[in-house]
């Protein structure tokens, strides 16, 4: 299958202060990557491109899904809603997860193209789902990975729904399963209720380049699944890599996605040349835009010299979809070298925001109130400064804000568990800088 978009339409914009003081070595830049708008450049009409997509919905059917019973009921409804959104021709399957993994539809463990008839059969199969058994997510993902590997589809996406801890396998087993699935498919994770572990699902969604979120009330599942599936149907280009070339003796200090959510890619580097590494970004929808923060340490050059600190390009397979240049210019003009690019400052703040929220909640769980107050107070201040209103709202459910601008807060005595988990899961969501 050829790529449905004209690849060269990706744009990369670089925001940085390229001026370094004498002896300066660290170069920071925000790279905004924007995919071509959907339907541009002769792409096939919506609905006609189902054949290179594959979708698997993994539904937790462990015993706890029956407590309350509404969870399994809503899970079935949500799965049905997602199936209804599938475009004709998209290969799909449904897996029921317990301490093992079982293909529910089709029962033979293959994927079938979506049509009115197969959707009808799938709905019936899903309506028969019953709760009972354990939880072994690595096993579920392993089965999905093997099923995806057998399809010719290039855009492979899964939804994993769970309500509990990964109790029936070790973290190592989950890690091995994830390693086998990386690059095979992407996976959005949803936790229903409050008995699941944020860190566990985040581990899966990070490794498999998807999102993680809490659906505290099972009644909200169907709408959420529909939205996720629609987003998946909008993806146009699969397996896109961010390639970062750096000069000899330079070091990439980090590469992280900073919008729409913080996701550190530094450890995901795959060497693609003597001086270049690829970082996975997954699939892109038409018109989708993301920001990346690239930090490179170079060898200092003399004042007045100019160096290319990084050549950032977007590649799919062997095709280069676009590139941007991160430069370094050494100057003795302090007015130039001391300026911090506003985008770099903004996203440095957003990354810190995510970190202090996670640290603060962690401290709160430990009972270290002083630390928790300090960290969450800092978070409130950062959210206020950057205009991250969603995060500010979530924070306000966990702390009483005395003075947002100064970051003065008091921990709330009673916090709904769902609110705390929502703050944790969504802590990585960022906002773009307002101009």
């Amino acid at each position: 299958m050829s790529s449905p978009t004209s690849p060269s339409d990706f744009t990369l914009e670089v925001f940085q202060n390229e001026y370094l003081p004498e002896g300066g070595r660290e170069v920071n830049a925000i790279v905004t990557v924007t995919a071509p708008a959907a339907g541009q450049a002769g792409g096939p009409a919506a609905g006609a491109d189902g054949a290179h997509r594959a979708e698997i919905i993994i539904v937790d059917c462990s015993g706890s899904m029956d407590y309350p019973h509404s969870k399994i009921v809503q899970a079935r409804a949500a799965t049905t809603a997602a199936i209804d959104v599938l475009r004709d021709g998209v290969a799909f399957a449904v897996i029921a997860g317990t301490d093992t993994a079982k293909p529910v539809f089709p029962a033979d463990g293959s994927l079938v193209p979506a049509s009115a008839a197969t959707r009808q059969d799938a709905r019936w199969a899903v309506s028969q789902l019953r709760a009972g058994g354990g939880t072994a997510m690595g096993t579920w993902l392993g089965l999905a990975g093997r099923m995806f590997a057998a399809t010719p589809a290039s855009l492979r996406h899964a939804i994993l729904l769970t309500d509990g801890k990964n109790e029936h396998e070790s973290p190592d087993q989950l890690g091995q399963a994830l390693a086998a699935c990386e690059g095979v498919f992407s996976c959005d994770c949803r936790g229903v209720g409050t008995d699941w572990v944020v860190a566990e699902l985040r581990r899966i969604s990070t490794a498999l380049l998807g999102s993680v979120d809490i659906v505290a009330d099972p009644a909200g599942l169907a709408a959420d699944f529909e939205t996720m599936m629609q987003a998946a149907m909008g993806k146009q280009v699969a397996d896109v890599m961010l390639r970062v070339w750096t000069p000899q003796h330079a070091q990439v200090k980090f590469v992280r996605q900073v919008a729409p959510a913080v996701d550190d890619l530094t450890g995901r580097r795959a060497q693609s040349g003597p001086q270049a590494g690829d970082y996975p970004t997954g699939a892109w929808a038409g018109g989708e835009s993301r920001d990346y923060h690239v930090c490179v340490q170079v060898t200092a050059a003399a004042v007045g010299q100019e160096m290319l600190a990084a050549r950032v390009s977007l590649v799919a397979g062997t095709e280069v979809l676009g590139q941007g240049l991160v430069r370094a210019v050494w100057t003795d003009d302090e007015a130039l070298s001391t300026r911090i690019n506003p985008n770099v400052a903004h996203y440095t703040g957003q990354a810190e925001l995510a970190q202090v929220i996670q640290d603060g909640l962690e401290a709160r769980k430990r009972g270290d109130e002083e630390e928790a107050t300090a960290k969450l107070g800092r978070a409130v201040k950062l959210a206020e400064e950057s205009g991250n209103e969603d995060t500010a709202r979530l924070l306000a459910k966990v702390v009483d804000v005395v003075d947002a601008a100064a970051g003065t807060v008091r921990l709330k005595r009673a916090v709904a568990e769902a609110d705390e988990m929502a703050l944790d899961t969504r802590s990585t969501k960022t906002v773009r800088r307002k101009n």
């Binding site: 000069p247 001086q275 290319l308 062997t318």
Partner: protein, 275 residues
């Protein structure tokens, strides 16, 4: 192929694909961010083996330069020009004419008699010179005044262009090229373009402007003969050396006399004056 200020050959023409330095003449505009930049056709090249020559790429990432501590890559230190190959096996006298980290050791003069005929590629690593006592003192040896006059020669340029392949397209005869005179002294005079990264500081440095793109960093060497005359050796330059309309063989010393013309690169002509 574009060459960056540090002397790296680069597959990209805007910035060096090895060290990242801006390549002279690359338009400022190309630095602006944007979509698929036309300035860098080789952006995906690093995936396919990269620009390094085979031997350099094969060099394992070793410990930093023993002299200045810079990270090591390739044979010569990127920063101070130290020749690692010469350092490693036998760090003795005469090892580093190029980088000169051991000023105590006077570069061994070309061995007397017929030695320069074949083995004389002076800047190469640790020459097999075993005679520790320099018989012919390298100092102020009796040298009548020999001079090399460097100029850009239109006739030679036209002939070169006519005989060249597509590589030569885009090379232009310099509009202004002052005559440069070099007094021949010492046991040898290297002709080339200096390169900090390769540790080459030729005595006859033809770095411009205007820079002749056809002149190698180490292009040819003038070697003093025991009888006080001079010979020229081409140690293996990329584009060869012509003495009086005849291309000379690599590594063979060709005796020179007054009025001889040594042609190299696209337009550079050295006229030898012996008086």
């Amino acid at each position: 192929m574009p060459v960056c200020p540090a002397g790296h050959d680069s597959t990209t023409s805007d910035f060096c694909d090895t060290c990242g330095m801006r390549i002279e003449g690359a338009g400022q505009a190309s630095a602006a961010s944007g979509g698929a930049g036309p300035a860098a056709p080789g952006v995906s090249a690093p995936a396919a083996g990269g620009p390094e020559s085979g031997s350099e790429a094969a060099t394992p990432a070793a410990e930093p330069c023993p002299q200045c501590g810079t990270g090591r890559s390739g044979r010569f230190c990127e920063n101070c020009g130290l020749d690692f190959a010469a350092e490693a096996p036998a760090a003795t006298t005469g090892s580093a004419t190029a980088a000169g980290p051991t000023p105590a050791a006077q570069p061994a003069p070309p061995a007397p008699a017929a030695a320069p005929m074949t083995s004389a590629t002076p800047p190469s690593a640790s020459a097999p010179v075993t005679t520790p006592a320099p018989s012919a003192a390298p100092g102020p040896s009796p040298q009548p005044g020999w001079t090399a006059v460097v100029a850009a020669d239109r006739g030679y340029f036209d002939a070169t262009m006519a005989a060249s392949g597509p590589d030569a397209a885009g090379i232009e005869f310099p509009g202004y090229c002052p005559e440069r005179r070099f007094r021949l002294s010492g046991p040898e005079m290297r002709i080339g373009r200096h390169s900090a990264s390769r540790g080459i500081e030729p005595e006859i440095d033809l770095t411009g402007p205007p820079t002749d793109p056809g002149v190698s960093h180490l292009h040819a060497v003038l070697v003093l003969q025991p009888d006080g005359t001079w010979s020229v050796i081409d140690p293996g330059s990329a584009n060869g050396t012509i003495v009086n309309d005849t291309e000379i063989a690599t590594g063979v010393a060709v005796p020179l006399k007054h009025g001889d013309r040594i042609c190299l690169g696209a337009w550079t002509v050295l006229t030898i004056l012996a008086d």
